[in-house]
Amino acid sequence: MIGQNTFRYSLIAAVIIAILTLTGIFTIFDRRDVIAEVLTQSLALFFTAIGGTAYLVAQQSSLTHPRDRILNAVIGAGIAVSVVIGLILLSSSVNLSFVFPQFRDLTETSLIFRQENPIIGVVELFTVSLFLGAAVGIVASLAPRTQSILFAAIGLTAMIGLLQNDIRRVMTIADAVSLFAVFALSFEAMRRSNVQPLVQRILFGLAIGIGSALILVLIANSGALASGGWLRPSNKIPLILNLAVTGQLLSFVAVFGVIGMAGAVISRTPLILHNAAWSLLIGFLALGVISWQDEMNLFATVIIFALISGGYSLLPQIGRNAEARFLLLPHRQRDSTRLLVVIFALGVMAFVPLFAGLSISNTINLTMLYITMGIGLSVMIGYAGLLDLGYVASYAIGAYTIGLLTTPSMLTCGGLSPDQISEQGLNIATTCTGVMTFFEGLPFAVIVSALTGMLLGVPVLRLRGDYLAIVTLGFGEIIQSLVRSSTFAPLLGGPQGIIQIPLPTVDLSIFNPTWNFTLQQSTEVYYLYIFAVGFAAIVVLRLINTRLGRAWRAMREDEDVAEAMGIHLVWTKLRAFGISSAFAGLGGAVFGATYQSIFPGSFTLAVSINVLSLIIIGGMGSIPGVVLGAVILIGLPEILRELQDYRLLAFGVLLVVTMLLRPEGLLPPQAPRLSERASHSPAPTGD
């Protein structure tokens, strides 16, 4: 039976795919592989499009029998692929680049599997697509949960494939497996035991970790780590296990001790933390597999796919059990568990640059910059309900403040302008410094941004909603014009901006004469961004469930009633302006110092829009939401460089889809369960 919407859906999808094809997306995406020598990005995108069409068609409610689903999915795939095939044949005979400038000859791409004869290639593509349709039809007949596991695993595996060239292959498979094993051992032991007090569990975990470490020392020293030994399947030397051989036993034992403690703590944690920890370990295993195979080949893909789908099918149940055990803990222990998990998370974060490499670190830094600003704007829009479209103003103020304070200027160069110094053949960096160093200037930048933010808030105190949005939109433009203007050019550099901002340096030479670091590369600057994000997150988390945070949210819900409940609207609003601008300023200052130069062009409306979009997609007023939004909107496009041209398209699609399906954002804020915190807490309810 053919579903009533089969042809309609297939044709709509076919038109969309045709438009994408005409934009030349398959040529642009053809440069990178997802699975080495098997699957290019182009093909992956093509299969996603065809599979998506087939899935959409197979999901029609009028289709109940699996046979019908498969049949319709095949029809859908066939229609969609036919259009692409038509375009492939067209592109090989006619040059359409005068209408579609990016549209090239598709027979040169991997779409026809690099066949000499396009006809054979096209037939092959058609056949593969029909099989894909059938496979999707089968998947669509499976239980929803199985489907989501499959899709998540496919998506994540593809993600890892895309990233394969940017990941530093530091984590070897032997390291990954031993970390995983020790964590799992400690987790399982503590899951089975009835030991309640947190301290005891930590000690047990530590003991398990140290014990395992000692066993591993024996194994490692038995020659397994020698070249060709069974713990060394590739020629890479394991980073952690090697500590046991080179005599750094203390560090070796410490690493596994900490992992053991982590396993013990994680055995009783809320679902989300528990799953995050396990996902991280699965990620380690995936990294290990890649470094073992040296690339994302078919074998690695299969293993990683199996790991991820296995993890996803097991985790929710184990996680729920862990959460149930967590809820049995006394209130105080729950708090200290959360604190410990945060400490572990920070510890993990400290090692990220080790694995990430320069390019990914750079992406992570940019993402964190936007997270910092997103948290700030979240205070303004998500908590206080003040729609601010000129957020870039505070960002610019922070950046220019740090630029002014730390860059060598006439003031600190003995009356010589930096240009004159260069003319005299002297090095600016050694001749003179700015008024302050970066770390001295940072608080000033934050404070200046906060104060100007509050100052800008004063005239708009009485405005609400869209009126406020329009006026703040103006602020952003005014700041841009100011820094661009020739009036302030001697100070702010006009269109040239401020260049040669010194890099942040950490001077610890009082402890050790060699400890004088300049944070230069993205892997080093990373820690500065972590600090910024952490600072913003801690401030917001501290405030949000207290008097001021509640006043903000009450004001967002109903300004008049909030005022009648005793909330001083002026002060409450000004604080929101101040705090949110402070974070933007913090972001701006770190940005200015790490990129070493700031131009008016970096402070356009696009920044405000980006930050706004990411908090809308992530979920207003939720920090996990901001993180997710920043990863999706800032991080992903940065990694998928080919996607750059399609960034706005993806933005638009994502915004529309989010608004349609999850108008509150992907991770909306959770209402706090305050009754559990009361002194005479009632028993937790079952739900």
Partner: protein
């Protein structure tokens, strides 16, 4: 102030363009009284409330509360002075939980500062804990126990009314202004609300000033009843006296009507 006079409104007037919404209304409320304000739709009752609570600034007249002039104060200052209100159409903070709504109500009684919260000072934490415990007490008192973590918008209608009162109580007011607390309730719920209002006075020593349409409720629990029509106060007195007042009957039923019992059929649109 040892005086028994809690609220003294002296010929307050409020005008919207050409419309005189409240014209020279006087009103005195003694400590511990339950006073009602009734009147046909558009009589200016809610505007009068708004003049007292600082939402509107009256053009003429003075409002003296607890021996202190509060005319022209901002609503938050009025709230701090000890006056709390509810709304005719329920206005809860719908995306906040029940407990959070109550905690917001406590705003003017809490002293916690931003810095205290940021640094997690012990005094701040103690105050927050005490506030939470008091919120739990209020939940129990208003019959909302077990519903503390619900979003306010997910509560049933009758509970939303109670939550509005709980939120108002949280600011520890001397005077509670209730704007049609039984609007939209069935007779049984109205009855419960009536007992609840009386308990507020008897157990908590609150003075209560309410706008109400339910005549049975007004006549049963009020010590005195004030009647407004076209922005003016046309009658004041005990429930019995007001019921017999020809001006009141005229205001509700038009000139020529005599039977006061028909007043009970009046409902707010």
């Amino acid at each position: 102030m040892s005086s028994d006079l809690l609220l003294d409104v002296q010929s307050v007037s409020k005008r919207f363009g050409g419309l005189l919404a409240v014209g020279g209304v006087d009103l005195r409320i003694q400590r511990g009284e339950i006073i009602s304000l009734i009147g046909p739709n558009g009589a200016g009752k809610t505007t009068f409330f708004n003049c007292i609570t600082g939402f509107y600034t009256p053009e003429k007249g003075r409002v003296i509360f607890n021996g202190r002039e509060i005319t022209g104060m901002r609503p938050d200052q009025v709230n701090r002075a000890g006056l709390a209100r509810t709304y005719q159409n329920i206005r809860l903070f719908s995306n906040l939980t029940v407990i959070e709504n109550i905690l917001v109500g406590m705003h003017s009684r809490l002293r916690g500062t931003m810095w205290g919260a940021l640094f997690g000072l012990p005094t701040h934490q103690r105050e927050e804990q005490a506030a939470l415990d008091r919120a739990m007490e209020l939940l129990t008192y208003t019959g909302l126990e077990g519903k503390g973590d619900y979003l306010a918008s997910n509560l049933a209608y009758g509970f939303q009314r109670r939550l509005e009162i709980a939120r108002a109580l949280a600011s520890q007011p001397h005077l509670l202004l209730l704007d049609e607390p039984t609007a939209g309730m069935n007779p049984l719920e109205t009855e419960e609300m009536m007992h609840f209002i009386r308990r507020l006075r008897d157990e908590r020593g609150l003075t209560i000033f309410l706008i109400e349409h339910d005549v049975k409720l007004v006549m049963t629990i009020s010590d005195r009843v004030n009647v407004m029509d076209y922005g003016r106060k046309i009658a004041e007195g005990t429930p019995q006296a007001v019921q017999r007042d020809p001006k009141v009957i005229e205001a509700y039923l038009g000139a020529g009507a005599v039977e006061y019992g028909a007043v009970s059929e009046e409902t707010e649109a």
